[in-house]
Subunit: 160 residues, 3 copies
């Protein structure tokens, strides 16, 4: 039995367009038989936060940050031409036109196909994001060493 | 005969500065004997759109998007300090001072050196960019699976 | 004796958040026994510029660019929610709360652990950044070919 080829992706950005690119590649890789790991860090944590409820963090600054940087798949915006949300609304409409999955659908597909979704422990610590803030599909919270361990066994590693 | 080492680059960004970094690496890789593939997706499609004429797409939203996001190598702007075009004009002047190629010249060089220029089919579908919108140097329109197929045989893969 | 596995990172961005991600991965890689090279290019040059003094470059446009794009580890700002510096100040406070190193401390750590810090010669040429503008920890100024030479021997290569 041969080992599966690995694809490792750092999801640093929380922009809708970059999130889509990441999931598109992750899901395609999985469909090609690759073993895929997505490592969400910094703004990328927003992609895998729950859409409902608030985020309970301790300390005034963390409370403030999690208010302005609430996150959740439905709150992501595109990195250009957002224009108070109009650009994001437009891109979402165009995605539907061609039956492109939404981020929520991509997360479900990725899970079904065995993609591992991991949050970066250091980012969670700095930004005061508790484990309970993440959606149920997230497989765990790990450090940079875990990610690099995966990456150095990977055929392809991307920083998005 | 040994196979050539491969370099695969995702050109996600349509910023002039990132486009330059991408072509600089692509052309350098080719000059070192590497087999280089550039895969233009999302905003990166702008880099390889024709400068002349309009983009004919169907549907109001696609028409609007292709109006505000016209693209073409001569319309790219830098990601910081653009300041209504002044920063971009300055960087272009500084590039000329050191005989750095323009994007048009980089595309011609890349082609001459055998770099493959490919557009992402999914992005074209979402954004309503028809094949005719691309300059003649573009080798074709392919999917994410094609790109990952190249990437997993590559020594170096970059997401720009 | 086996060779060390290599990790090569292009530091293209000069944003504080991306700089932190880069150093976090570089230092973690080094602690895992990897041989790490960081290649600073374009806006990323700002990360390794001295904080003190001005930058002496020739020509009006280069002087202007180096005034508005002064750089230095202490002048980096985050890519989102900077809000006239308030967001950056907040992130720096949150980093201190969890004893996360500052960029200056990360640079010192990286050097101690043998991470190579290299500036891109082409970017220096375009932007008029003389060798004297860089802090003493920088190991040298090299071209894209040197970087790709490292990258193609690397287990992991990232473009940040």
């Amino acid at each position: 039995m041969t080992e599966k080829e690995k694809l490792s992706i750092v999801m640093f950005s929380g922009d809708l367009d970059r999130a889509l690119a990441g999931f598109m590649l992750a899901v395609t890789g999985a469909s090609m038989g690759m073993e895929v790991t997505m490592f969400f860090t910094f703004w990328g944590l927003n992609i895998i936060k729950k859409n409902e409820g608030g985020i309970k963090s301790k300390g005034l600054m963390k409370k403030m940050l999690n208010l302005i940087n609430r996150g959740g798949s439905k709150r992501l915006t595109i990195s250009k031409f957002n224009m108070l949300g109009m650009g994001t609304w437009m891109i979402k409409g165009l995605m539907k036109d061609v039956n492109m999955p939404s981020i929520d659908e991509f997360i479900a597909m990725a899970k079904d196909m065995g993609v591992k979704l991991l949050a970066c422990s250091t980012s969670c610590g700095i930004m005061g994001v508790p484990e309970g803030a993440f959606r149920s599909e997230v497989d765990g919270i790990v450090g940079a060493a875990y990610f690099l361990g995966e990456a150095r066994e990977s055929k392809v590693t991307l920083f998005i």
